[in-house]
Subunit: 217 residues, 2 copies
């Protein structure tokens, strides 16, 4: 959580940059909503600035360019997502599946971020999109990490030896993303958690050596 420029103030009660940091956070939060609604290209810095009560010039003091703002938003939100839920080691694949359900439940609690990811992932198919490299790398990483979790399950004997871990990882991510697309368009009609549970339940039945449905926590 670094600060702008070369600030050297130290944190503390009424620390010297506590105010600036809070403004930064408010900008990031507003930016999420705007990227969600407009995508990157059509998002207006002026509108974001107005929302947090400053001018466009004032906003550019915190983020030098529109693209820098995008990068900050993506990095800040990914840190609290995939890293927290995906990367951590799990004692079992079953537990890891439950973590994915937790993540999905969490996403349903913050429509802004979920909608933003839908909008930006879709846009960033264009190789010239400023987030293209970010999302390409993100999926590569997520497939590797999810695949690794499954592979450990194979090695521990929890999953069958003929499991195609990479393919299953990709498929799992696809289901989660696809459910998010449908949920954003009709939140009342789609229960993401229930749907994903339905999926991992059958998946566990197919892949586990026990051949049983996903055990509860």
């Amino acid at each position: 959580m670094d600060v702008k420029g070369g600030a050297t103030g130290r944190r503390g009660p009424r620390g010297s940059y506590a105010v600036g940091d809070e403004r930064r956070t408010r900008i990031l939060d507003a930016a999420v909503e705007h990227f969600a609604q407009w995508g990157f290209h059509a998002t207006s810095l002026t509108r974001i600035a107005k929302e947090v009560g400053i001018t466009q010039g004032g906003l550019l003091h915190h983020f030098r360019t529109k693209e820098a703002l995008l990068v900050s938003v993506l990095e800040a939100s990914d840190e609290n997502d995939a890293v927290r839920f995906f990367t951590e080691e799990c004692e079992s694949v079953a537990e890891w599946f439950h973590r994915l359900l937790d993540l999905t439940a969490h996403n349903a609690q913050r429509p802004g971020r979920t909608r933003m990811f839908n909008a930006l992932v879709g846009e960033s198919g264009d190789p010239d999109h400023p987030a293209h490299a970010f999302f390409a790398r993100r999926y590569r990483t997520l497939v590797e990490e999810a695949g690794g979790s499954l592979r450990r399950g194979v090695e521990s004997g929890e999953l069958r030896g003929d499991t195609d871990c990479t393919a299953e990882a990709r498929q799992l991510l696809a289901v989660m993303d696809g459910l998010q697309l449908q949920w954003v368009l009709a939140p009342a009609s789609v229960d993401m958690v229930e749907q994903l549970h339905h999926y991992v339940d059958r998946l566990y039945r197919a892949l586990s050596t026990a051949g049983r449905a996903l055990p509860p926590r």
Copy 2:
């Protein structure tokens, strides 16, 4: 394939609007690529016009507003997609699954349209987006039709009686959409057809009364 305004000219060799129709088609094709790259809001009519060799004013003769162009693009491409692949009755669920694989293979052959759908679906989570109603209705329809195909399979005895047709339909659409997102970002790393085949194969094994993998065509 109706024409602009209230044109009443009849088609024929050198028909009165054959030229205009071809221009219209070229505009629509170009628009697909631009909506794919920029989404709706950030797409520029001037750039589309330049691509087909006319001016922005000339383009607006064929489509009175940007939004009218979007609607035309969506309606034209949906007609040749879901309707052709999804709606038709199938003699069996197995055959219907093979049709979905055909559709996926078809989508892999036209990255422009596939990317456009990714970009617009993501953007249209915003209720104010000009395509929001279109996509909300589209998923409602597709879930109904896909669910209907499965339900006929239950009634014919091909699928188990306890199949949750609506949930399976939603899940199937989610997998297809999610795979498209990953494929657009890394076409060389993701084989959509193979991945979907992997999915429907297991799905058929789980849902069919025979309990066997998807039979080949």
